[in-house]
Subunit: 387 residues, 2 copies
Amino acid sequence: MRRVAIIGCGMTKFGEHWDTGLRDMVVEAGLNAIQDANLPGEKIDAGYIGTMASGSFIGQEHIGALIADYMGLNPIPITRVEGACASGSLALRQGFMAVASGLHDIVVVGGVEKMTDLDGSMVTDVLGGAGDQEWELFLGATFPGIYALMARRHMYEFGTTEEMMASVAVKNHRNGSKNKYAQYQNEITMDTVLKSKAVASPLKVFDCSPVTDGAAALVLAPLELASSFTKKPVEILATAQASDTIALHSRQSLTGIKATTIAAEKAYKMAKVTTKDIDVVEVHDCFTIAEIMAIEDLGFFKKGEGGKASLEGRTAIGAEIAVNTSGGLKACGHPVGATGVKQAVEITWQLRNEAEGRQVKDVEIGMTHNVGGSGATAVVHIFGKGN
Amino acid sequence: MRRVAIIGCGMTKFGEHWDTGLRDMVVEAGLNAIQDANLPGEKIDAGYIGTMASGSFIGQEHIGALIADYMGLNPIPITRVEGACASGSLALRQGFMAVASGLHDIVVVGGVEKMTDLDGSMVTDVLGGAGDQEWELFLGATFPGIYALMARRHMYEFGTTEEMMASVAVKNHRNGSKNKYAQYQNEITMDTVLKSKAVASPLKVFDCSPVTDGAAALVLAPLELASSFTKKPVEILATAQASDTIALHSRQSLTGIKATTIAAEKAYKMAKVTTKDIDVVEVHDCFTIAEIMAIEDLGFFKKGEGGKASLEGRTAIGAEIAVNTSGGLKACGHPVGATGVKQAVEITWQLRNEAEGRQVKDVEIGMTHNVGGSGATAVVHIFGKGN
């Protein structure tokens, strides 16, 4: 199996892009990544695109071919992959395999979602398709409600408080304020979060990631060819994916995501590193409680101690482990199919020492953690310097 | 790159399954394939599922995780891939890469679509998402209309007739009548086709593939391990995929699908065979004109001579090249995401000499050809005996 490197990356600003369609966003992010890789277009062999629900959001399936067309990349193959909110990471994982297998050399990986063409209630309905349509959504369980159940149980079992959850939002907005691609570049206070309207108690508006348009892209190459394109290749040291039940009611525990734990174990083993080696991590904070569970499930803190650790500032830049330097899904925004790729873009910038204003010192190893639905899919990637 | 074999296959009957949901059909096809491979479930490492538009058809995305759950395969990773009507073949292609790369050993590949929960006009609308939503569907160009344009041009340039197209339907119904999994197991006459109602002239009801529910599945393994599961492994000799413009109006020609030609060239090269070596082929006959174009684009007949060859019976079982022994999309039915996998199931049966009632003699090499949309994606696989 060949070693695989990221040789370029790019993204659009995340936000509400009323005047920009899905195809425009993909082209912008893709060209940014290709230019970043100093890559002549004709060297590209294949592509993967992660998008969750373009059929429901904009009536367009067959996004792979659409992108090949609009990026001028015909006739190379581009394939769409989907795993709900983890679609972007699954695209990266398939791109990795395409290069690792030797079937392709230069592979472009993208993630995109155009969400704001529908109104809020319709978006909530489409996103419900990431859970169990028959046993959850049909009966009224939308995603804020599902994560609220997890939050309540976490509070009950471990004494996690609304302040602890709010501290995650405050930290991620602080990080996002340094990221020119983030949807929200404003800092917020604990008071703002705690006094915001309830969405599904205990989760309030500022505990939730927003509805967002955006795209992100990476260019992959065999590691041995990477240095001919870039001075700062980033190696993908591990890719791992795991599944759990689609419906929350079938899980053994509501206070963690088992698929995260399993994917993380596989990833640590594949990369031959431990939690302690990770300098910076992008985790899936679709809700603040999700970040607290993630930093526990990934092994950074013991189960039940993630909330306290967040409130104590141990996940800030410069503290024990820098979590969501991009601003996370909370401040950066969450165009679902794009998020996993954006996480890898942020880690690439951190490893290349290019995360202006939010750079973590002496980064050697970074990680991304992307969740589909309420945890039925989890994908973990580990990255290191490629030279 | 490791060599990859099919060690088991299975499917549901294709048809209108009013009482069966998507998850039930996947489980049925998947278990059939796993049993066919004599495989203990715990040996399975990963899975891929092709489905075009489950979000729009049944409100359910995240099909990979859903299947892992309902097949009892948690926590192994299962990933959905989509390329419109070529989704099934793309799932097979990703499964191939997962095994070829060495990342996984035993991989289950499935394809599924549950289409009959919506009424006909809504299905047509959803399928329109396989073309260019903004420039075709929005302006009223549905798929029968798009293929009717291709048919008219083929008739104009090459003298192809409605009788020639009708002969494709008659032959495919004859083959389908021998296939217990086919939606339509009745033979039809030229008269039936020619006197059926116009859908988009010159295409009539019997020139069109139907709306269908169904699932199909394969089990893949490294070739060197295949003999421990089955006496009749089938090797995947080549996988190739190509893209063309998403909208028909941007194409250089309307009388062929360029992506098919390019994918076929790549596949022949990878498998080190030529058109003459192919004994049996499943082609993408979403409309009768599509089969005529396919047998030309794949090199079996010269451009413009496919219609005449069909009318002369040169594509029947026992003639020059056996085309669509399963009954094709026309008679077997076309649950879009399942079709590409079903094609590979049929070729596997042909190579194992198990296609009862429709077996081609002395099959050594088989091929599948699966198209997304009006030709923006084409996927070609070539198969041979694995021992």
